[in-house]
Symmetry: D2
Subunit: 310 residues, 4 copies
């Protein structure tokens, strides 16, 4: 088992099968990736205008990687063991941007109205990253670190890093966090794993579109499940299995997530599909990860204790 | 303080301003309402066909009430103190129906495909209502009782009881449960409160469209907030405030719920609206109550501890 | 054959089974109904604020009727022969209202943005109703009169007049016009027919939410198709058959409309359902009636000449 | 002025900035492109199963091009003068596929139901391409040829050819036809123009997901509008201007299309934006191009005669 450190000199803005691997590793190796924040650290003060600060950025949401995992081949499943996140600065940034976010018209849900006023929020930690405080609001929230993006390269397509999809991507789902396993489909030799967009914390829905964006050092390792093809990302924690659907309208994301979870229960736990459907109706979980990205991401879950039948 | 018992001889199938009150009570009085299950107890065995069993039912989802609360007037808020639910039988019923549910085409999300096969699930309790077991699936789940419907009469309209809306209604939101306060807008003298559709438990989304349907004895009492008009239902627990939005597509339900919560934080907790928007982006909760009814119901929430600013 | 004139002293704001008939007629009788505009003629000048002008209106969209058609019974189809519209004034009014319309956030598609600026447009006719001119814009458009609303009373429910649905209602579909037959389901004895919301013209989608609103004298007569139950409104012109679906999201309205048209082609023209599906894929029409009401209305159509198979 | 002929030896399945130009041309040159059908001519008989016939196809919807137009640079608009379509065979093919189409659940609008039965329809022309006849249905429809796809390469992303978007793509909009000008944004040097998916005809909505698919010889020429950046595709005919929006849910496609048309009316015809909004409310057109692709495409339009103000 080796440990590799990836400290990018430049970042990628696409989930692409065509980018040069930053590192090649074996299953079981530890990989430490440094990640920049979604604004490439361009916004550092509450007096800035997000629009001005990012006007020279052709794309946002820089990604670290890709990591080439030896032995991964199309049709396999990549298991990402998410080991840890360490923040590499003592503040996070969020902001209200023009024509972006869950309670604002956008380029897609288009209106003729003026945008909301821009506003930057700097959230500082005074306890080494356990909590973050906005002096502007006068509130302190606990850190609950996770990565907004986590992807394998799509099949042939090159998709910009603001997009969630079957390959993972910008799901903004808080369960993509240390201690959990993230399962992603492999479409290319080496899987080509991307990660970025670390959040010190985020509410369900990521309402204004911007979480507690922070730079970080992320540690992961990988396993490969040979010959097992996935349709959508899955997450496994100690006590739950979860499927992530990303689509618009939001009900389609819900349908995808629950249908994939039923498939999982059928394939791996021996449930009849309709029985799984019934059981999830009574005990399933369904929360909104993001309601702001190019598609919305919802997470359907069931506790493992209900997967054992008598 | 009086205690009134409402044991309906017949049920209502509309949230209507025109129905005769079952009882008139004062704020603070206890009201015990017996509720039938959503199928009017027509489905009692796993060998039944839900379609056949309900073919003579012009409407489903019988409602108890309305309760006339003395002193409630249009423009007030009705506070429902939800005290308890006692099951009045030792089994709950769920089923897969034709052209209904989250993973089936419906009369609205219409396709040309054949429906799913019908299937009834009887869930029995062997411990006085603490858990429910499906022998068919071989799984036991804990009871988490709540009422699927809870409403005040709409303004002039008479709406069938399968519908959620600004007046509450068939929200299928598990937080409409004992120990919580449900806040509803008052549009008619006496408010005209309806309740029904008791669930022994339900997963988030109510995936197949049918929860653990059960008959029950529901105890509530009421308060009135004079001169306070609500746009959408709100829920308060010991540690959270919650707003419920019901709409299609699902993202509109999310928008309504979070926007109403921001309004609540601004009105009662002194937040600037954009600061509330930012705070909810970092610490808000957003889950799906139902993804199966005539509109979808989502619940946005924030813990009360984050409402105190320094 | 008689001719009846209905000149309302007051209007209704609900599609309700409980309102007293304005007149009882036989199939074949002519009924002349006077209709007020959607604002009850409260907005008459470009210097008015729609919000101020309507602030005392509890409801908008006044309806004339209901007309009781002798012999119509639940399970029948009401055929409305739409004979003529005569305008009863020489101007129409449209306006941009706050938080309403297709390119503005609303109470449902909720944002935190400020509303659009209010603006009233008076469109005058100088040629007896053939064309209408907005001096403010400097444009003249041809009159294409139709009724925005046209309904039978729903089954038990009382629905406010701004709502489209299976019963017809506020569809805002330009094909509800003189020369066409409108087919509506009958849910109550006498059918209880409502009409109103006359438009001197309207674009597809009714983009800002307000068409060329005008007062009018509408002439209709009725036929009854006994024992034929409809699920959704249908329209027949000399050369087309059309089905109207009303739902959100908009794709559900499209699904409903096309699925109902396939049913019609199967029932009345002998098509195999999948063949009808295929044929509509190649030659069907699908336009947006309204994208602004409580649900959206889409019209699917096929020309009659393609209904004859060799 | 030159004439170039592009007879592909292989086709592309991506709208990509990275593919080698098939030909480099100057504005004004004629380009004749041969296009294969969406199934790569794999389905030729009504006895085939579309699933079996396409199971070795990694992607569908082959594209001809890209054409590099000398002088086109990022920030310009490419004007495609669509000159003609000549069919290169005497039959078109359509089919009902599993889990695809407007009245079937899909991988996104997911249900647990079985798919529709597969069915192939061969439509033959007996008059040199003026009409097409399905013997299976017994109906003849007129040819109305257009190209389902027409795109410039996106900015950095490589998007599979089944997708519509701001770059054009798989819009399936019948107004992308001979005699019309198609305006597309330029994101890469040379624009990199793709075309394919010729349809002998298609209904609005492309209901079952498959039009009258046919091989063809397409003739176009190009102009460049320097320094004019577009957000969404536009179409100009002799008497109309049209904007195409592609999004989900369908109402977002409608919003995009009408908002872009307002922008066009403001920029090129001197309209105040709210006046344009009002005028489109009275005289705009809005039809559904496709209700089956990865996003839905709607076309908003206004006749040019209403663009001249007095």
């Amino acid at each position: 088992m080796e440990t590799y450190e990836v400290k990018p000199e430049f970042y990628n803005y696409m989930f692409s099968p065509n980018l040069e691997p930053a590192v090649k590793v074996n299953p079981g190796d530890k990989v430490v990736l440094y990640t920049d924040d979604a604004f490439e650290s361009r916004i550092t003060s509450e007096s800035q205008s997000p629009k001005s600060a990012t006007k020279n950025a052709k794309f946002l949401n820089p990604q670290s990687g890709p990591v080439y995992i030896n032995g991964a081949e199309p049709g396999d499943t990549l298991v990402v063991n998410f080991e840890s996140i360490e923040f590499t600065r003592d503040w996070a940034v969020s902001c209200i941007m023009e024509y972006f976010g869950g309670l604002q018209s956008t380029g897609t849900t288009k209106t003729l109205q003026k945008p909301l006023e821009e506003r930057v929020y700097i959230w500082k930690t005074h306890d080494g990253g356990k909590t973050f405080t906005s002096d502007r609001i006068g509130v302190t929230v606990p850190a609950r670190p996770f990565c907004g993006t986590c992807a394998t390269a799509p099949d042939t397509e090159a998709i910009q890093a603001l997009t969630p999809g079957p390959f993972g991507g910008n799901m903004d789902v808080p369960d993509v966090c240390p201690g959990h396993k993230i399962l992603l489909p492999v479409h290319n030799p080496g899987a080509l794993f991307y990660i970025g967009d670390c959040h010190a914390g985020q509410g369900q829905g990521e309402l204004c579109g911007v979480a507690l964006e922070i730079t970080a050092k992320v540690t992961v390792s990988f396993d490969i499940i040979k010959g097992r093809a996935l349709n959508w990302p899955r997450i496994e924690s100690e006590d739950k299995i979860m499927s992530v659907g990303s689509a618009k309208p939001m009900e389609d994301a819900a349908r995808i997530a629950y249908a994939d979870l039923i498939q999982w229960m059928a394939d791996d736990y021996g449930f009849d599909a309709l029985d799984a459907y019934e059981l999830l109706s009574q005990i399933g979980g369904l929360y909104v990860g993001n309601m702001v990205d190019t598609t919305y991401s919802l997470v359907a879950s069931i506790e493992k204790k209900y997967l054992k039948r008598t």
